[in-house]
Each structure stands twice: as structure tokens, then as C-alpha cells.
Symmetry: C2
Subunit: 470 residues, 2 copies
Amino acid sequence: MALATAEQAQREDRQGIAAAVAELRARFGERCSVSHSVREHHGHTTTLLANQIPDAVVFAQSTEEVAEIVKICAAHRTPIIPFGAGTSLEGHINAPEGGVSVDLSQMNAVIKIFPEDLNCVVQPGITRMKLNEYLRDTGLFFPIDPGADASIGGMTATRASGTNAVRYGTMKDNVLALTAVMPDGSIVRTGSRAKKSSAGYDLTRLLIGSEGTLGIVTEITLRLQGIPEAISGGICPFPDVESACNAVIVTIQSGIPVARIELLDTLQVKACNAYSKLGLEEKPTLFLEFHGTKAGVAEQAEQFGEIAQEFGGGPFVWTDKAEDRSKLWQARHDAYWACLGLRPGSKSVTTDVCVPISRLAECVEATRADIDETGLIAPLIGHVGDGNFHVSILVDPEDEREIEAAHGFIERLNWRAIEMDGTCTGEHGVGQGKKKYLKREHGDALSVMWAIKQAIDPLNIMNPGKIIPM
Amino acid sequence: MALATAEQAQREDRQGIAAAVAELRARFGERCSVSHSVREHHGHTTTLLANQIPDAVVFAQSTEEVAEIVKICAAHRTPIIPFGAGTSLEGHINAPEGGVSVDLSQMNAVIKIFPEDLNCVVQPGITRMKLNEYLRDTGLFFPIDPGADASIGGMTATRASGTNAVRYGTMKDNVLALTAVMPDGSIVRTGSRAKKSSAGYDLTRLLIGSEGTLGIVTEITLRLQGIPEAISGGICPFPDVESACNAVIVTIQSGIPVARIELLDTLQVKACNAYSKLGLEEKPTLFLEFHGTKAGVAEQAEQFGEIAQEFGGGPFVWTDKAEDRSKLWQARHDAYWACLGLRPGSKSVTTDVCVPISRLAECVEATRADIDETGLIAPLIGHVGDGNFHVSILVDPEDEREIEAAHGFIERLNWRAIEMDGTCTGEHGVGQGKKKYLKREHGDALSVMWAIKQAIDPLNIMNPGKIIPM
């Protein structure tokens, strides 16, 4: 495109956005904000990606309102960026082309619980913790737990998972149906409350993980789980990462239905000891949880203990006391803060990859060696039952050389995972940060994704600049 | 379209198909058959749908060959109908517009097993029973078991499930990655061997259940399960269908990880008694199976027995002897033949629906009443842990009035399921038979499916006339 034409196109885009914002302000009044601080908050990223703020933020209160907003934006070819709790890690909520952030946090109701069916219908703005508080008296819970208190809508959009995924699956396994506003403003419902269906294309799974690039999810039907009769948890140190990973492999292979199995490397254990006063041996350590009947969890713990011993791990200390378990998992969930404590004043850059479990030890070892060679401070923690792990790189945000080193390391990590027949992200999503790895991971399948994007969002207004590097 | 133009278009289509077949015969020789009996076999349907035969059948032996076939067909706008084992139930393999049936049965290799990762890569033509025979010495098994010995490719295409789905999920949960030939002949790979990923659109799930309308699957990476340490099975009669369904609901709610829980209504029990010499009480009966440790399966059986008693069911007789269990499940899998035995000379028309489990008793009762009122002979059997059930209507294929009554009944059954927030097919797929229910089930989401179909297959050559009623 010639420069003059590009400039002209950009000017037209800006005029379109201005017209859309004016209409939205007229329609939504106070609920359409153009205040700089509100806009900045909505483009805020938890990483090193620059904050790219939207032109306006609209606080939606219903599916119909979202449809109205989308129609107004579509009429003016204005980008739309859905916003839940703002906890995403790869720049999903940034507005690289400006446009309108649609804040769904006020759509946070539990619409209905169906205890007999073990499912419920919620609005996207409710967070996972709020949902579980709401469910407390029903004997049911929603198991998916990314570290942050993310919104269910955001978790749907990024195909989130977390520590419980090894037993309960990810968002793709725990969403039955969706209501979504499509890029033309039409409202569609995908799936049903039936547990399974073979009736046509799986639009539910297509929208899960599409990061707001195909539509805005406004209602979600979630599978729920009965709170287990008994829960036990434990900790087991290992001489090295390899033996810990091998113990995980055999545990999974033996069909022990472990609910959580998390690896903390030595540096992460140090960090947690300092932050959460745990007093653990400073070795690669597995944190575990078992769900089942009282006899069942004891049996599982015993079986795991034997496997750990085979690989030189132990002592395996476990408990079914709720209080001790809570302390343990609080420490696990505080890992992010514990990391920052390793280097006060630093910023944590968190990345995740996922590999076949047989390649996990090799991938983790190579990654640890890479970190050491690069001279970065970067503890490693993982949902190892799924072959998924995170590295939190603690960087001085003012030190360009260090940031460059971090970027180089992340690039090598992602290539390593892809070459091991894994993926550049197990649960964080692509956003802006991981776009550059998709061609290597997906090859020609990327063209199929792009064809779908163009068919569903021909104006490219839904969260443009995310996922697909086209 | 004016008549002359329609006729001309059809003539051009026929000329295109003839040209494609000529090219395919030149390229594939003996492996491209135009024999009437081979073609008839490939359009054969297991239902009352008319046999619509393809113009030729090509027996493919590799992904690259499939790509060649697709390119030749695409160049001549010739319909392509993928064929696995021919066991589908809704006319999936029919050729309403003629064209080329691509028979994948010779692509039946297990490419690789990854025991540490609990997965394997197979070609689409292998059947589920052959795969499990192959796996026998590995301590692993593939759990998805539709009644017939379907091919893994066909099961992927229809999003199949079966009796084990209540514990192990459906094909959507058990396929990690696919290689597929797209409608332009390009070869793409979706997913990876990592257990989870958030890297872009879920093309794997989009292809699963797309019934060959978006591409031809040529390699499938499957999750496998460890063979449980102990398996126990049992039978439990109930006074009526409602109490049996209620026992199922409470069993699932209690988190008992039942591996199979199947309902046979009184007529089906009668049929199985006669066919498999079971000597069961002729009442609605649950067939169950538990997988776990020796202590675990005993505990599960005990818990279920208590629940059954609460609802007036029993005696619950269970065993962990492999021989007795096999007899039981052989009888379950022979249900189709047992049905035919109820009315020698009849043809069985089988249909399936799936509803939220809370609506199951109501749906089954209403369906039973409908059958009785219509005067049809139609036993009912179901994967009730998923809210999924089948009705096999035994019709005299020569009696038009009876066939009309069967069609009327099927239509009411499907509407009933959809109105209960269920689906018109839990596992058989849409094919030709269920197209007419999709608008009611999916509403405007059908337009999104159509947009995807058009984007990926703009020439509409991949299994045309299936799934989408456009």
C-alpha cells in the first residue's frame, strides 16, 4: 500500500472509531468512559508488552447490550476488545489499533444452577473464586483454577486450565454451551446442556480459546463437580528434576487419579520458603492432592509414596487435615509473589509451554541449563501431570540488555517445546506475545484458522492483532 | 435457477465427475473401482435411507494419495465421500450428488505407540477392536466403544462415544491431534501430542464431528488409558424407568466414577433374555461397570448398591470375575441382534438423542408412552450416565404405513429432546437423517457453521448434502 493511501486509511479508521465512540456515549452515557485512567487500566498488561489503550471503555450489562455495542462498532469498522478481569498474560486486552474495550465485569451473575445435572449457567464477568463462593452450599465446585482470580469469560476465551486440569481437564472440557455475540451483532447459542452431542460443528470448542477474535461470549454453561468426600495433600522432595518427572510419568501411567501434581524447582522452593515460611528441603519438590473417598485418597497417597521411593524421592509427607492442605496450596498459589521476593523491585515475566509428558524431564532440564547459561533469575513451576510448566523471569524493567536476554530465552523455550511435539502455550493463550510461534507450531493449519477468522469476522474488528500472525 | 440452466449445471457436474473418475482410474488403476457392487457397498446405509451410490471408489493407501485424489476431484468439482467401515447410521456415506468414495480401510496401521505419554498415532481405517487387539500387550486400551466395530476415522468424523463415555468422554475428549487433507488438497496437522494447548483455534475439535464435510482425516493421535487394576460389573433391576434414572442421577452426583451405566427398558431386557439366555427379571435394568483398584471397585459397587436400594432397585448383583462380566457386556453389545429377534424379518431403525440427565426420566417415560401409542415395537437402551439413549424401531420394510409411523415417532422424539435443552443426536451424528432438526437445535448458530463450511470448502465438494441443511 502506498504511504498516502495507508495514511488515508488510518485517518478513515480514526474517524470511524470517533463516530462509534460518539454513538456509544450517546447510548450508554456514564457507562461509556473515555477517561484516560479507565482506558489505561483496560489496556494494562501483566507483562513487558507496551500498554496500548483503547479509545473508550463500555461497561455492558446484558447480552443485548453487547450486541448493540458490536453493531455500532461494526457499522464504523471499529475494533472491539473484550475485557474480563484483566489478568491475561500475553497482551490479550491491548488495543493495538485503538477501538472500544467492552468491559464485562458487571455481567457477573450466576444465572442458574442445575444441581442434578452438575452444571450451571453464568455470565462471563464472574470470577472463578466468586463462583465457588456462590456454589459453597450446593456441595458442588468448579475446578478450573488458573493462578489469578480470572473471570470465567476470560478463562473461556484463553482455554485456561491450572493445577486441577490433570484430573478435571481444561476449559475445553468444562464448558457445555455458550451464548455469544458474533461480529455482525447476531446472538448465537452453541451447544446445549446435554453432556454430549454429535449435532454439527463444535462451535463451542471453536469459541473456547479464540480470545475474543471470533465473538464475545456472554453466557457460559459450565460443568460442575461434586466436592469429594475426602481430600488429602502432600509434599515430596526429589534429588533432581528428572526423577521427579519420572515419578509423575509412572503415577499418571498407573492410573492414579491424582487431582493435582505440581513441580517446583529448587529456586522456586527457596522462594516459597522465604515468602510463605514453609521450611521445605531445598530440592525439586512435588506438591500433590488426591480427591476421593476416605479409603480412596489413602490408597492413592500410599501408591504414590511407593512410586516416589522408586525414583529416590521422599519422604512423602501427606495429610488430610484441611488446615495443613490450605497452607500448602496457599503457598503454591502465592508462587508469583514469592518469586518477586527473590529480587525486590523486579518485574516478573511469565511464560508457559507444554510438552508430551515423556519429554518433560528433558525439556525442563534443558530449560534450567538455558536459564543458568543466560544468567537470568527464573524459577520454574509446573502442572507436570499435563506436561505444562511456567518460567517466571525476574527482570529489571529498566535494563534493556536483561530484557533482551529474557526475550531470547523465551524464544528458545518455545521452539524447544514445539520441537518436542508440544505447544508454545499450554494455558496462557497467544494474545500478542506468542503470535510469532504459531507458524512454526501449526504450519499450514494457520491458513485454515485465518480462513475461519475471515469468514466469521470479515471486517476484522474482533480483537484485531491477536492470535493469528496475518 | 431456470430449468435449462439447472439441467446444464447438472450436465456439467456429470461431465466433471466423469473426467475426475477417468483421471483417478489412470492414476490408481485397480484401486479405483467403478464396479456396481463395490459402489453399492460404499453407499450402503444401515437405515431406511435410500442407497445413493458414488460414481467410483478409490482405495487410498497414504495421506499423500488422499491429497492427490482430493486435488483431482477439486479440479473437476467432484464430490468426495470419505468411507471408513460403513457402520454409520444416518446416511453419512451416501453420495446424493454422485462423486468419488474415498475408502480408507487400507490405511489401517498403528503408526506409533507412546506408552509413557498414554497416546498413539493411528491411520483412520483401523477399527476400534483391531486397535485394542494391537494394544493388548501394552497394558493400555482405547476406551471409546460405539456398538459397531467402527473405524477410528469414522468415529472421529461423527464424534462417536458409547458405553464408556460416562467415564472416559467421547472422541472429542480422546483425540489430541489430527492430520487432515483439506478440500484444496493441502495437508494440515492440527494439535500436538501435548495434553493441552491454548495456541489458537481448536481445529482438532472442529474436524471431530464434521463428518468429512471439511476435510478427510488421515492420521489421528489418540489418548489411551491404562487397563485398570480391577474391573467389576453388575446388574440391577428397578420397578420403573423413573427410579432407575433417579438412581443414575444420584450415582453421578455422588462422584462415583462409574465406567459404564446402561439402562435397558423392559422390552430390551426381554429381547436380551431371549437372544443371550440371560434369565433376567423383566424390568427396567441397569448394567454397570466399575474400574479402579481392587478396594476401589468394591467400594464403588457398595455405594451404588445403597443408592439403588434407596430408589427401590435391587437386588444388585455384581462380580469381578472376568468371564461373568464378559457374558453381561456381550449381551449388551448384542442388543441390536437381540432386538431383531423380537420380530424376525424386520429391519431395525435406530435413532439416538441426548438430554440433560435431570430430564432423562421424563424424556424416557414420554418416549415409551409415545411408542406404545403409535403401536410400534421399539426397545429402548441408553448410556444413561450421559443422558443419552437409543430407540430401535423394528419395522416391516415393506409396510409404508409403519415406516411413516416410525418417521413420525422419530421426529417427535427429536423435538422432545431439543425442547428439553438436549440434542437431536448424542453420538450417531447428523448425516442426512438428522439435518432437518439442526435449525431448531442451533438457530442462528447454523449460519456460523455454514460460513465455516463455505470458507473451508468453497466448492462444496467435501461430503456434500450432509450436516448443514443449506
